[in-house]
């Protein structure tokens, strides 16, 4: 019930709403492009003048072919980005969700049954804080995902996708489990859990009625933060030409290799676009700016949720100041007529 009321407040929160609407509209555009336009990407290989003579060959910048120009083979980048949005956002939401759900379960089990080992396990898990996630993911994935030129591909696309989802999920499980375990531990020390225990609540009852409702908003916030982390990880892997669903290397000519993404997901464009950064910079910047906007939207959602969910819980300094201001404000406004301070506080 309280959660329901909070959700209503959440959708009235301007920051959350704007972030949510951006993601929603992007996904809606992406799906409607697939449904109504059958995912067709317009191609402009050359520009013609009014007499039908070819004036120039691509790739074209954003000024020649609005809104975002074309890539090496003449496809319109804006449409590619719209089309790929559902994959990129979908993958990151899926991976983040899996991470949170699995680490939530592990964290709960760990906190309940193995909490004595906490010190040792947290020491071991601490190792993850000294390894860039992209590096370890690269090492884990490169043999499966990357098919070099002239090599036989041993796996199907589906297998690669599942393996990549698996790897992207497990690399964050240990740290997240520990984090959630510690949060659960803190909830167990709170007063209302103690009284529930005194009143004879069993372990499962307390979990169902007290822990989960309490931790749910926190997990939701962690979920959007985790989504951002997955997006960044996808960018990094894309930079190393490890593309979702597999990379096929093709030789364009003696000096150049093209890395072709099998799915049309965003990060696939980053590695290629970076090599053409100085020449065709719009390719690189349009895709990274789209990534930035999506991350910004998720950040806005996180901020909104923090404002709505956590305000009552940790009275942070800002809110305390705000309340103080309110109280003095009421007092000042009604200083013409005599009133008890206590009453004015109640009104506030």
């Amino acid at each position: 019930m309280i959660i329901g009321a909070n959700f209503k407040r959440l959708f009235k929160h301007p920051l959350f709403l704007s972030g949510f609407l951006f993601i929603f509209l992007l996904l809606a555009a992406s799906f409607s492009h697939a449904i109504f336009f059958h995912g067709v990407i317009p191609v402009t290989n050359s520009l013609k003048d009014s007499e039908g003579l070819i004036t120039s060959f691509g790739p074209f910048g954003p000024l020649e072919v609005p809104p975002l120009g074309t890539d090496e083979v003449g496809r319109h980048i804006f449409v590619i980005l719209i089309q790929g949005a559902k994959y990129t956002i979908g993958i990151s939401i899926l991976v983040a969700g899996l991470r949170i759900i699995i680490s939530g379960m592990i964290g709960f089990l760990f906190e309940n049954y193995f909490s004595k080992l906490n010190q040792y396990v947290s020491g071991l898990v601490n190792g993850f804080y000294f390894i860039p996630a992209a590096l370890i993911c690269y090492f884990l994935l490169v043999d499966v995902i990357f098919t070099s030129h002239g090599e036989v591909d041993g796996y199907t696309i589906l297998q690669k996708m599942i393996f990549q989802l698996f790897v992207l999920t497990i690399v964050a499980i240990p740290t997240n489990s520990l984090l959630i375990g510690n949060q659960i531990h803190q909830i167990y020390t709170l007063e209302f859990i103690q009284s529930a225990k005194t009143l004879g609540g069993g372990r499962l009852h307390i979990l169902k009625k007290h822990i989960i409702p309490y931790i749910f908003p926190q997990l939701l916030i962690q979920f959007t933060q985790e989504t951002i982390k997955v997006l960044v990880l996808l960018i990094h892997l894309g930079f190393f030409h490890l593309l979702f669903g597999g990379t096929t290397e093709q030789e364009l000519d003696e000096s150049q290799n093209a890395y072709i993404s099998i799915s049309s997901e965003w990060s696939g464009m980053i590695g290629n676009a970076f090599t053409h950064l100085t020449g065709w910079s719009w390719m690189f910047f349009s895709v990274t700016i789209f990534f930035t906007l999506v991350i910004l939207a998720f950040n806005l959602m996180t901020k909104g949720m923090e404002d709505v969910f956590l305000v009552d819980r940790y009275k942070s300094g800002k809110d305390r100041k705000k309340r103080q201001k309110k109280i003095t404000f009421v007092g000042k406004r009604e200083d013409s007529s005599f009133e008890f301070i206590q009453d004015s506080e109640k009104q506030a």
Binding site: Q119, Y120, G123, L124, V125, N126, G127, F128, Y129, F130, I131, P132, A133, A134, L135, I136, Y138, F139, L140, V142, D143, V144, G154, Y155, Q159, F163, I228, L231, V232, I235, H236, F239, F240, I270, F274, L277, T278, S281, F284, F285, T288, I289, F291, T292, L293, I295, L296, N299, K303, S316, G317, K318, R320, K321
Partner: protein, 286 residues
């Protein structure tokens, strides 16, 4: 448990954790689990750690000894990391002080800009930096904006600038949070009522108390900086340790490289922990 025992235990456990994690790629043979190869890789890494001077890496089909070749790479990466860390910390501190002092509207603008900055992926910063450097090189003749390192020449300025920007933003966020938390405490009201100036309250009392929290938050910022460093070394073609580990794809080299990065960072954290615990008398966890 004593302070030094805890620090030592954590050091050993984290080092073991790093070795276990860096051997993980051997666990998967393609997509199949291969536990025996994982264990044998662990053995190889362990023997490599026992005799680090016997570890070799392959370069152009020839084996070279890892030591002493790795030292300059390590030094380069560590210089970039620590210099950027310190600059980012100081910058964020200055920004925090400025936004604590200025009036509400300006503070909101600074916060808003840095909130957007939090969403910028490091790759975009690298791209922008390269474009700016090219522009600068075209129009002026400043030597220190060279983009890629050639041969023995090492570049410092541009990588350090890039490696500083985003950590500054993240530092700023955690600093603002801690400063505002601290400034709403009651002792601030006492100090104000005693007519201490806002500056002395801010610089002495708030700063001293908030810095402890900030230090404890710095772990995740360092983690972020490490992946940032990997990207920068790859993008700028820097002969650093991260790129070395990335290019050679040998698990013993990975484990040793990561441990070599871990030790100085952990030493910094441990010194901070000792100082904090001695001053405050509270147990903290870095």
């Amino acid at each position: 448990m004593g302070l030094y025992y805890r620090i030592f235990l954590k050091f050993i456990l984290t080092a073991i954790g790093i070795v276990l994690i860096s051997a993980l790629p051997a666990l998967f043979d393609g997509m199949k689990l291969d536990i025996s190869s994982y264990i044998s890789t662990l053995m190889t890494i362990a023997s490599g750690l026992m005799q680090p001077f016997a570890v070799t890496y392959e370069h152009l089909q020839t084996d070279y000894f890892l030591f002493p070749d790795i030292w300059p790479l390590w030094g380069y990466s560590m210089t970039l990391l620590f210099v950027s860390f310190i600059i980012a910390f100081l910058f964020a501190l200055i920004l925090t002080f400025i936004s604590m002092i200025v009036a509400g509207k300006l503070r909101k603008i600074i916060r808003g800009i840095l909130f957007i900055g939090e969403s910028v992926p490091d790759i975009l910063v690298i791209g922008l930096a390269i474009m700016t450097a090219i522009l600068v090189n075209k129009h002026t003749n400043l030597p220190f904006f060279s983009i890629a390192s050639f041969g023995d020449k090492q570049v410092f300025i541009l990588p350090i600038i890039v490696l500083t920007i985003l950590p500054t933003v993240f530092f700023y966020r955690s600093m603002m949070y801690d400063f505002e938390e601290e400034i709403s405490r009651q002792y601030i009201d006492v100090a104000k009522s005693k007519r201490l100036s806002m500056y002395s309250v801010l610089f002495i009392h708030v700063f001293r108390n908030a810095i402890i929290h900030i230090f404890l938050h710095s772990k995740s910022i360092i983690w972020f900086m490490l992946s940032n460093l990997l990207m920068i070394e790859y993008a700028f073609n820097i002969d650093g340790l991260m790129r070395f580990m990335f290019m050679h794809r040998s698990l013993p080299v990975l484990a040793i490289g990561l441990l070599m990065m871990f030790i100085p960072i952990y030493m910094m954290q441990a010194i901070g922990q000792i100082v904090i615990e001695k001053i405050t008398g509270k147990q903290v966890e870095v």
